[in-house]
Assembly symmetry: C2
Homo-oligomer: 299 residues x 2
């Protein structure tokens, strides 16, 4: 089934205790697309500036990512600069240059409006709404968001939640949105807003799935080699949506498996900077770690 | 198999967002004994003051907890006063009155030196060593500890780790002891000190089991009704050791099951203050929640 992601394409400058990179390829849509491409073809929609190398798009194309929805605009590509310290659970944002991302309105190429599985990566809720307006026949729409949208555009986010099937948020955002410390309770509060399921990302503590009548939790895959957590959340979402689109089934059973795949893919991504690890592995490597993870969790 | 716990018996005064209690029954050995008593008979060793009600010991006795190792000493019982706020992940200690606990040296009644399964609850490492000296035929010795022992009595703790089969520590203590932020890596560092397995307690994020060749993780049971986290860690240890002693098997397979039982028992305990919830349930209630948890974790 066709899988669409709408989000940012970025140059990231990141420093962690294990190294640093400057102006490396990144962005929510890019991490998502690379992660999902291990499972199924992906359609990516975003905006880049004149400084964005054609080669980066060509590489996505070679991975079965359709980049016809990437618009090139006069100006510079979105830039983010961040720092991870200690347990690296949260990035400290040092600098944001919105650049061409500021003009991005979420308009899809005609060929993408029939997308079946749709992921709205973090972005202005108004833009996320605009995407939902276009994908009339979507089977599953899942949205991510971020602390400042919850703070500044609460109303638009509330109406968005009523229009999506699932949300993927980190634990801090879930607590912020619901005003509820207890995560199972917070998850249920979010369900009342409309989505059929809520996935709570907890970084090194794994992830939770909350549905109307089920609760499921996966730990993080115990990788001892975390180099750079940038893109972990979007890689997680890419693994999750990639699996769901591949099996064309978003039942609770497949959602659980999707959380395992999401965890596995995110765990691989954080072992290197930027997209380095994704570029060096194959779908077989993903399946191998999935089997390892399954065995690890069986009792 | 016989199960021994050596630790504190206390009066706790606790305030959480959901209520408060004053001078309520508590202490590591007490929480452990109540939790383990759902699985197997328990031997408890500790010290109380003249102010400790005989009725509390009688109640333990009715639960198949052998209290002949509880020494009554002139003076007042150990008292702890704590506050939980927000997500209630950590207690803020407001007051500690050591009282008679200061004279506790870990001497066991003769009848207890043949104990098979032994849990050394948090306490001075010198006292924990003294217990290990006495239980010559133990099949499994597991120790807990705490931040100030790691800071102040590091050497004694290191020699203790070389004498035990397993440790149960919370994530902050594991990081403090090893100087390692990454928990899988920290767990492996602890194994190098001697124990065969390490259990890392992560509160609302569940627990990890690290052995020489396996890694296992359980989430917390998603109870929406956390009233008072006091004793959660010791209840967890009680559920774990209770199951291991009951099946007389500390293989990795049974350790995994023990972590599920530990989680279930701890999740019940935190739904009330002091020992209130443990006093109102039966072993059947524990088994029922265990089955629910098993189903929840299957995929």
């Amino acid at each position: 089934m066709s899988l669409l992601v709408v989000g940012s394409i970025a140059f990231d400058s990141v420093k962690t205790p294990y190294g640093e990179v400057t102006d490396a390829l990144g962005g929510s849509a890019v991490y998502f697309a690379y992660a999902a491409s291990f499972f199924t073809p992906v359609r990516i929609v975003g905006v880049v500036g004149e400084d964005f190398p054609e080669e980066y798009l060509a590489d996505l194309g070679r991975r079965n990512v359709d980049t016809t929805g990437v618009r090139r605009t006069p100006g510079r590509t979105f830039r983010w600069k961040g720092l991870y310290q200690g347990a690296m659970n949260e990035a400290e944002t040092l600098e944001v240059q919105l650049n061409v991302l500021g003009e991005f309105d979420g308009t899809l190429p005609d060929a993408f409006v029939d997308s079946d599985y749709v992921f709205l990566a973090n972005g202005p809720p108004a833009m996320q709404h605009a995407v939902v307006d276009q994908v009339k026949h979507a089977k599953l729409i899942v949205a991510d968001t971020m602390n400042h949208w919850i703070r500044d555009t609460r109303d638009e986010l509330e109406t968005l939640l009523a229009r999506v099937d699932g949300v993927v948020m980190n634990e801090g955002e879930v607590r912020q949105y619901t005003g509820e410390e207890n995560l199972p309770r917070a998850g249920r509060k979010l369900l009342e807003e409309g989505p059929r399921f809520v996935v709570v990302k907890k970084g090194e503590h794994g992830a939770l799935l909350v549905t109307g009548d089920e609760f499921f939790a996966v730990p993080a895959f115990p990788t001892a080699d975390v180099s750079d957590p940038t893109g972990a959340g979007d890689s997680f979402a890419g693994g999750m949506m990639g699996h769901l689109a591949r099996v064309d089934d978003a039942s609770t059973t497949e959602l659980k498996r999707a959380l395992l795949y999401a965890t596995v893919v995110a765990s691989i991504n954080v072992e290197g900077f930027s997209l380095d690890r994704f570029k060096s592995i194959t779908p077989d490597d993903v399946e191998r770690r999935y089997e390892q993870f399954r065995n690890m969790l069986s009792f």
